[in-house]
């Protein structure tokens, strides 16, 4: 059973059961079992190198692009097994979008960045693409800042704008889940506040699973918090309970800053 104490009415969107993960021979995740609820923001905290990013990336299998990996255990989306359930990884990545730690816009125009995904799936109609671009940029709280310069290069934007552009780009393919790997770690406090506000809005519509280094951030934006340590899930529960009344000694030490 997952180590949690939820009394959630929402359905389980993503489920991990006894998930083991290795890069080659290096074991990184050890028997993780965890439920992630739809339309909630779940934050993963823990010291560097404990496997947070790896766990996140399992849900859209993005690490398989560049690394030799071994996975054992079950991962499900809406009750369907991600590895054996007949979901092609390309389809999976459409349903499970990802925002990376470092903003990584394409060296193309702002507009081309946003419509990159829809164009992949064969949307050609200019009006439809324009509509998707506007809607996605609005959802990412970027529209007002860029609506007059959509043809300009994305590389000319500030870091915070680039990260919101990456969020807009992910939203444009209309995903169900949004994975965010320390989305604010490269940003200044003002940009960070904007992204946090955004996550707060996004979780009304999407399932958000995020990694954060920053415990205040986890406390501010997430409904659930999971604490990882050395590739294991130590404790998971409603964010408020985790921060006020942790059950595990290690969780308590970590959130009170005694290690990590």
């Amino acid at each position: 059973m997952p180590i949690t104490d939820h009394q959630e009415q929402k359905p389980v969107k993503l489920r991990a059961r006894n998930l083991d993960f290795s890069y080659g021979d290096k074991k990184v995740l050890d028997g993780i079992s965890m439920d992630i609820f739809a339309e909630q923001a779940t934050a993963i905290i823990g010291p560097s190198g404990c496997g947070k990013s790896t766990f996140l990336k399992c849900f859209n299998r993005i690490h398989e692009v560049s690394s030799e990996v071994r996975v054992a255990g079950d991962l499900e989306i809406d009750g369907v097994d991600i590895f054996r359930g007949g979901i092609h990884e390309v389809e999976l990545r459409r349903r499970v979008g990802m925002v990376f730690q470092k903003p990584n816009p394409f060296p193309k125009s702002i507009y081309e960045n946003v419509v990159f995904g829809p164009k992949l799936f064969g949307v050609r109609d200019r009006d439809i693409l324009d509509g998707i671009a506007e809607e996605s940029l609005r959802k990412a709280a970027l529209w007002d800042e860029v609506k007059d310069r959509l043809k300009e290069s994305a590389m000319s934007m500030s870091g915070g704008q680039q990260q919101r552009l990456c969020i807009a780009r992910a939203l444009a393919v209309n995903p169900e889940v949004l994975l965010m790997d320390e989305p604010c770690s490269a940003l200044d406090p003002i940009a960070t506040a904007k992204i946090e506000e955004l996550i707060f809005e996004l979780k009304k519509e999407f399932t958000v699973l995020m990694v954060t280094h920053n415990m205040q951030q986890a406390a501010r934006v997430s409904d659930y918090t999971a604490f990882f340590w050395l590739g294991r899930l130590i404790e998971m529960g409603p964010t408020e309970r985790i921060f006020t009344n942790p059950r595990d000694r290690m969780t308590e030490d970590y959130i009170s800053g005694r290690f990590g």
Binding site: V65, R94, G97, P105, F106, F116, A170
Partner: protein
């Protein structure tokens, strides 16, 4: 002991750093200016000698074999046509092989062999390729000295260069851009076509220009495969036509010695080649500038 006492004649670290910086900068400037000077003197000398010969007639007349006053019209055409034909073969092959090596190939034994082949081909002296081309295309396949034999052998010369530069350029694409593309649900092919190739376009273009320039100036290969004659028709697009190029013409008139004005023809031909290369490079710089402006 007095700790405040410093050893004499010792520069402060910042001063030392500043001086090494200045000296290095001077050295690099001198080297750069030296290179530019050599190039200018060299190009200047060729253009100066060739300039009196370069009139409209020179570019629009057929060459003479015994009398003075011949032109280079068919050679100029053949040179450009040969480069274009060879690129038509070497671009798809080289870019395809580069994509394969960068994105699809694993680590197997077949692959090591494939790489070895490319490296060997890249290191083959052009005279060896010339003889190979003559034996295979001219004699065995019976193509005789023709544009197609020349173009195919030039393609062999260029395929390794284009393969390598494509592979390198693709490998230099930041991995986070690749992840971004896959993360949006792109397939491998889509990622290659829409992200990797556009990003590497300038790098690949640079390699292609180098390859084209080398093919344009190549003589040994073409002497043995495209021959030292030109067609009596103009323009002759047939692949079976004899295909003497500018570089071969330059070599031929100076070594044959039957032309009374061989020196002038050679000087004019050399200058014409330099001019074409200059135009080619400027054109490509312009295209490159446009690409960069559009993407960065």
């Amino acid at each position: 002991m007095n700790l405040m006492q410093k050893p004499r004649m010792r520069m402060k670290p910042q001063a030392l750093a500043r001086w090494t910086d200045r000296i290095m900068r001077c050295v690099l400037w001198v080297i750069a200016i030296g290179f530019i000077a050599v190039l200018l003197i060299f190009v200047g000398a060729i253009l100066k000698q060739g300039w009196p010969v370069l009139n409209l007639g020179f570019f629009t007349k057929m060459p003479e074999s015994l009398d003075a006053g011949g032109g280079i019209k068919p050679e100029l055409f053949n040179s450009i046509y040969l480069v274009a034909l060879s690129l038509a073969v070497s671009l798809p092959t080289g870019i395809g092989a580069g994509i394969y090596l960068a994105e699809y190939a694993g680590q197997g034994r077949v692959l090591r062999f494939f790489r070895l082949c490319i490296e060997t081909l890249a290191g083959t002296p052009s005279i060896v390729l010339a003889l190979f081309g003559m034996i295979v295309f001219v004699q065995t396949l019976g193509w005789s000295f023709s544009l197609r034999a020349g173009a195919m052998t030039l393609a062999l010369l260029n395929i390794p260069v284009i393969t390598r530069v494509t592979e390198m350029s693709l490998r230099s694409v930041p991995p986070d851009l690749k992840e971004a593309s896959y993360g949006l649900g792109a397939t491998k092919l889509q990622t290659i076509l829409k992200v990797l190739l556009p990003y590497s376009a300038t790098g690949i273009l640079t390699g292609v220009v180098l390859a084209a320039g080398r093919a344009f100036g190549e003589s040994a290969i073409l002497v043995f495969t495209a021959g030292t004659n030109v067609s009596s028709r103009f323009p002759d697009f047939r692949l079976t036509a004899p295909g003497e190029s500018l570089a071969v013409h330059l070599w031929y008139v100076t070594s044959d010695g039957t032309l009374p004005d061989a020196r002038e023809i050679a000087a004019g031909t050399a200058a014409a080649m330099i001019l074409v290369l200059l135009i080619l490079n400027l054109g490509v710089r312009f295209i490159d500038y446009r690409i960069r402006k559009r993407t960065r």
